[in-house]
Subunit: 156 residues, 2 copies
C-alpha cells in the first residue's frame, strides 16, 4: 500500500524524493499548507470570476493574468506531498475535508491533479494573451477540474 501511494505521489511530486519530502513537513503542517494552497487558488479564481464572468469588477488584464499565474503555479507545485500518511483525518482541532477515500485512490487523484495543472497552465496562457472570450472558456475548464475532484474527494 505504501508503495502504491508513493508511486502515485511521485507524479504529484514531480518525481522522486517522496519520503524525504514527507520528512520535511509534519502531518499537521501538510494539512494546513494544502488548505492554504486551495484557499489561495480560490481567492484568485474569485478575482478572475469577478472580472471576466460576473463583470462585477472592471476587467484588468494584468490582475487577471497575475491571478491565473498564481493558480497555475500552485496547481503545479507538487501538492501531492501534502497528502502524506497521517493526513487522512482530523488531527486534534485541525479539520480536514479530504475524504478518506482519496487516500485509497491516489492514482486517480494524481490524474485529477494533473488535469488541474494542465487546465491552470492553459488559463494562465490565455490570461496572458488577454482575449476575454478565451479566458472565460479556460476559466470554465479550471472550474470543472476543481469540481471533479471536490465531488469525489472533498467532504462537507
Amino acid at each position: 500500500m505504501k508503495t502504491v501511494i508513493a508511486g502515485a505521489l511521485s507524479a504529484l511530486l514531480l518525481g522522486g524524493a517522496v519520503t524525504a519530502a514527507y520528512a520535511q513537513v509534519s502531518p499537521e503542517d501538510q494539512i494546513e499548507i494544502r488548505q492554504a494552497g486551495f484557499s489561495y487558488m480560490a481567492w484568485n479564481m474569485g478575482k478572475i470570476k469577478a472580472q471576466v464572468i460576473d463583470g462585477s469588477v472592471e476587467y484588468n488584464q494584468q490582475q487577471v493574468s497575475a491571478a491565473a499565474n498564481a493558480i497555475d503555479a500552485i496547481a503545479n507545485s507538487g501538492m501531492g506531498a501534502l497528502f502524506g500518511p497521517g493526513t487522512e483525518k482530523d488531527i486534534g482541532d485541525l479539520h480536514t475535508r479530504a475524504d478518506p477515500a482519496l487516500f485509497e485512490n491516489m492514482q486517480d487523484m494524481a490524474e485529477l491533479a494533473g488535469n488541474l495543472g494542465t487546465a491552470a497552465s492553459n488559463l494562465a496562457a490565455k490570461a496572458e494573451a488577454g482575449d476575454q472570450d478565451e479566458i472565460r472558456v479556460a476559466f470554465g475548464e479550471v472550474g470543472k477540474s476543481c469540481k471533479s475532484c471536490h465531488e469525489k474527494y472533498r467532504m462537507e
Copy 2:
C-alpha cells in the same frame, strides 16, 4: 488617509479597482487568505532550502523550479488587496501578526512588496535555468526580502 492607502495599494494591486477588490472579500477572509499566501510561499521556500542550501533532500530541478514559480506567482499576485481596512488587528479568534504600523506605512510596504516580487521572479528564472550556485544567490535575495518586511511589520 483612505486616499493615501488606496494610492499605495494601487501599486500592490497592479493598478485600480481597489475599492471593488475590497468589496469582494471580508476582512476576516483577507487575513486568512494573506496568511495562506505566506504559508504557501514558506513551504516552497523550505523545499528549495532543503534541496539547494542544506542538501537534506536531493536536488530535483523540476521541483525547485515549480517551488520558485509558486513563490513568484504568489508574491506577484496583488497581496496588497489583502491588507484592507479592518484587517489591521485581530478579529475575534483570528489573530494577525501584521504590525499596526504597516497600515500607516503602506507606501513603504508597497515598495518592500515590489522588491519581493522582483527577487521572486529572479529566483524563478534562475531555478528554471538550473544553475545551483545562481539559485542559491537568488534564494538568498528572496530570503532577505522576506526578512526586511518581517523585521519592520511582523509581530511575534
